[in-house]
Symmetry: C2
Subunit: 211 residues, 2 copies
DNA sequence: GTCTATAGCCAGATAGAC
DNA sequence: GTCTATCTGGCTATAGAC
């Protein structure tokens, strides 16, 4: 089982380098503006060689998403290992990680509309499995937080989950960074605080939500 | 001054139809996936005719953005006309309008990264002027809300403003709609409530924001 | 001012030598 | 498996007839 040929190891390293490059470009320019030529140039190999490893541009993006989901799961596991932590704090830590990562230019984001890309993602077993796993793990904490009164129990758990996911592609940190008035730490604190207060357990202040 | 030739009126109507089509496609597929051929087909004219009205695809997108900013200003004016309304309710009403519009597939959204498009937008006097006007008007209400204690006074007003702007391209309503469990009205209520609570005046519940 | 037809370009994908 | 060179399709933009 542990027998892995040197050849395979080299392959793995190269593919890791490719995915890392895709990750950078994806978070920097987005899927549509990222070109396969750029990916090849960044890795330092020819485009044709790239296509030996991944069959399409969509597959490249999917691999980057799988990677980030794996890392997310790692963060979740680390958080789960810290005993006696209130669920809301665990969720806050994961969210903080996502925001920090986005600010650092290391969070790939995909257009939620590109249909061919969606098709590839939905067909990717690893991606789907990881996405469900992450959702389940976070979902548990959300429900626990609601039972403990830390999270607004009138919000469907999905809404909290999606709101958390959306922090990974929130444009607000980028705007604030572009403004140049705040350092990264402050930006993370502001965005995270707003998110946390938005899902918190107290009753909503504006009852009828102004029509 | 009021003398407008029939010819000009026809031109205006046609250009309105073009911008409306761009608006739909832009909110449906986004800028990169929208093709000029599609716009022409949707309007029912030839592509070359389109280019008689607008010099480039970027200009089409810019025109759509100017239009939506104008409409936003209209909503703001209408809200300002309602006397004795607390500033937070005014802000909530504008935000509600944006979310509803996005859910209806009528809110154009641009990639915040495409450089050539950014250049065209920044060079568009109408666009810049309207954007500043909208920001100023909303900014006033934000500051008033903070003074009245309705909005968290520890948040820089920009943060509140950007958070509000971000509701126009928030993926959460789309996710919830795709889930099929909630009708539009409920989705708007959930997202709006989360936003409002996020900026509300009470102290943040999670003091140290979980590291 | 509208059309048809096409130029020109660029990016994803591939062939074939080594 | 990696390279250079090329194909192919689709897109923005334009020429030129009417």
């Amino acid at each position: 089982m542990a027998k892995v040929s040197l050849r395979e190891q080299v392959l793995r390293v190269r593919e890791d380098a490719i995915i890392a490059a895709v990750n950078r470009l994806l978070s920097d320019k987005g899927y549509d503006l990222m070109t396969v030529d750029e990916v090849a140039a960044e890795v330092g190999i020819a485009k044709a060689s790239l296509y030996r490893h991944f069959p399409s541009k969509e597959a490249l993006a999917a691999a980057a998403m799988v990677r980030v989901l794996r890392q997310t799961l790692g963060v979740i596991d680390a958080e789960a290992a810290r005993a006696q932590r209130p669920p809301l704090e665990r969720l806050a830590a994961v969210t903080r990680w996502a925001i920090e990562r986005q600010l650092a230019g290391e969070m790939p984001s995909l257009p939620s509309q590109n249909s061919s890309l969606r098709a590839v993602l939905l067909a990717d077993k690893d991606y789907i499995e990881l996405l469900m796993k992450v959702s389940d793990r976070l979902g548990e904490w959300i429900v626990q937080g609601q039972q403990a009164g830390e999270i607004d129990a009138t919000l469907p758990p999905e809404v909290v989950l999606y709101t958390l996911f959306a922090r990974a592609c929130d444009p607000v940190p980028g705007f604030l960074k572009a403004g140049g008035q705040y350092d990264d730490e402050r930006i993370v604190a502001l965005v995270l605080a707003t998110f946390l207060k938005g899902i918190s357990g107290s009753a909503a202040p504006a009852s009828n939500s102004a029509r």
